[in-house]
């Protein structure tokens, strides 16, 4: 890890430190609304990192990460509601449940040669099945939803119950940890094997890489990490509906950050989240204040903005930004 830090040029270290400082100090400066936007930025940066491991590194497109998000959220909240098991313990169960689901999806796909677009369809199908299943699961309130008690004045970090500041710092720690993990994995033998499998599975196999196993590990980590995001979601919003948490729009919104920011890069998911979340939020504000608030109008504008960014920077904003800030890896 120290070797990684040493590889960053001096001004890059200053910029990283500055960015960290801004995020740590932000709650002292900004109001509640802005802070809640920043929570979303960090939340999407975190989930973007999780998804990017599977797509950006291992080259497997999942359009059904809502499955792991939802399983994580439902597992931890249900454990708390029914058995009084707190989220800090429940999160491990949530990781295990989502990772197991990921392994089933991965096994079914990769064992039987379901690749590319067909694999992506399989991931959507599993998220949809699960949504329908939870719609009828009485234990978790079925389609009527699951609710955690809300007490705005609570400062109960052990039960993840409190104001926006608590969740802000939890999200910050998650985003930092995910970024460090991604950076460490990228430089590990496993990371190199992921890239090999992404670039050419047949050639990867010819140098002794077990393609199936390497993809399964990517799925395991990605699904497990996404479940942690789901636990965060569940305790932050304190209400869960299968039609929302398992919806394909959840899957799509979490992959936009890394795509806009730069697939397969360490800072892409962060940059993507920093760009997209405020755009979405300010569009909402703009629509309301300008009287254009017809249903769907926001999505149209959001879509146009996405198209503009993608057509200008097809390989993502971060690679371009890194080049201009002279932060791309020095060629020794």
């Amino acid at each position: 890890m120290t070797a990684l830090w040493n590889e960053i040029p001096r001004h890059g270290k200053w910029l990283t430190a500055l960015l960290l400082l801004v995020f740590i100090a932000a709650p002292l400066v900004v109001d509640r609304y802005l802070l809640s936007v920043l929570v979303l930025v960090l939340y999407f940066a975190y989930l973007g990192q999780a998804w990017n491991l599977l797509m950006g590194f291992a080259g497997q497109l999942s359009l059904g990460h809502a499955l792991y998000l939802g399983l994580g959220a439902y597992t931890a909240t249900t454990l708390w509601l029914l058995f009084g098991i707190g989220p800090w313990i429940g999160v491990f169960v949530a990781i295990a449940v989502a990772a197991a689901a990921g392994l089933i999806v991965g096994w079914l796909g990769w064992r039987f040669g379901v690749e590319g677009v067909y694999f992506a369809l399989l991931t959507i199908a599993f998220a949809e099945f699960t949504r329908i299943g939870f719609d009828h699961l009485g234990l978790t309130g079925a389609s009527g939803g699951l609710f955690l008690p809300v007490s705005p004045t609570a400062h109960d970090w052990w039960n993840l119950n409190g104001g926006v500041h608590l969740f802000y710092y939890v999200a910050l720690i998650l985003a930092i940890a995910a970024t460090l993990l991604a950076a460490w994995l990228r430089q590990s033998p496993l990371g190199y094997r992921w890239l090999a499998v992404r670039e050419d599975p047949e050639a990867a196999q010819a140098v002794g890489i077990n393609v199936f196993r390497v993809r399964m590990i990517a799925m395991l980590i990605s699904a497990g990490m996404t479940a942690v995001g789901g636990v965060f979601y569940g305790f932050y919003y304190r209400n869960l509906f299968p039609s929302q948490i398992f919806d394909i729009s959840r899957s799509i919104e979490l992959i936009l950050g890394p795509i806009i920011g730069g697939l397969g890069t360490i800072f892409g998911p962060i940059v993507g989240a920093i760009i997209l979340t405020p755009v979405g939020e300010s569009l909402t504000t703009f629509m309301q204040s300008s009287g254009l608030n017809v249903p769907g109008a926001k999505s149209i504008f959001y879509g146009i903005i996405l198209m503009i960014i993608i057509s200008l920077r097809p390989s993502g904003v971060w690679p371009w930004l890194a080049k201009h800030l002279r932060l791309d890896r020095p060629k020794s």
Binding site: Q187, P189, R193, L195, A196, E199, A206, V207, I209, N210
Partner: protein, 240 residues
Amino acid sequence: MSGLLSVNGVNKRFRGLAAVSDVSFEVQPGEIFAVIGPNGAGKTTLFNMIAGAMVADSGTIHFDGRPIDGLRADEIAQRGIGRTFQIVKPFPALSVEENVVIGALLHTATIDEARMVARDILQQLDLSAKRNQIAASLTLPDRKRLEVARALATKPKLLLLDEVMAGLRPTETDRIVAILKDLNRTGLTILLIEHVMRAVTALASRILVLQHGAVIAEGTPETVLRERAVIESYLGVEEL
């Protein structure tokens, strides 16, 4: 069955077509063994069965005294067989060095160690100066050498080369021939499929000739290349 690689009565059919029929041969440790034959003779199919990319319909393949037929390609690589692809398959978005590092990771525990192995091999193959270039940006001769470098990084006992000279200029061919001779001198056994006779005669200690999936001749270059069947089926056409 004292050979490093012994292929016994291997068959492969694609629907009605016998791509490889009843092929047997042995590759001795330390030799350079060439498989030649006209296009469609079944050379690449044979090669793919040895490397685990295809499964033989019948027959056995032994490597280092153990059966390897039916193993996956990655398991065969782990046993000590390195291969190149006729249509080169670099990891395009990665640097030349990263390509070779990935090969070296088969037998090293850390990236630093793998990088040291990779740098040695890149040196051997005259690719050191280009190690930070993205593989997709290499010229064809460089890509062919990168294929060899990546396969070598897995520290194979047997190196399978599928037409590494195809599409190269004579000077480039001679360069690879010299590199392969050096590698062979250090004890590496090589099985090559080749169309470029200039390279085959310069390298091979023994030659196997395939036609329509069957062996029509086997022996030293001097004897094989004088055989009438070989000249008629192959050399007569190719040498034009």
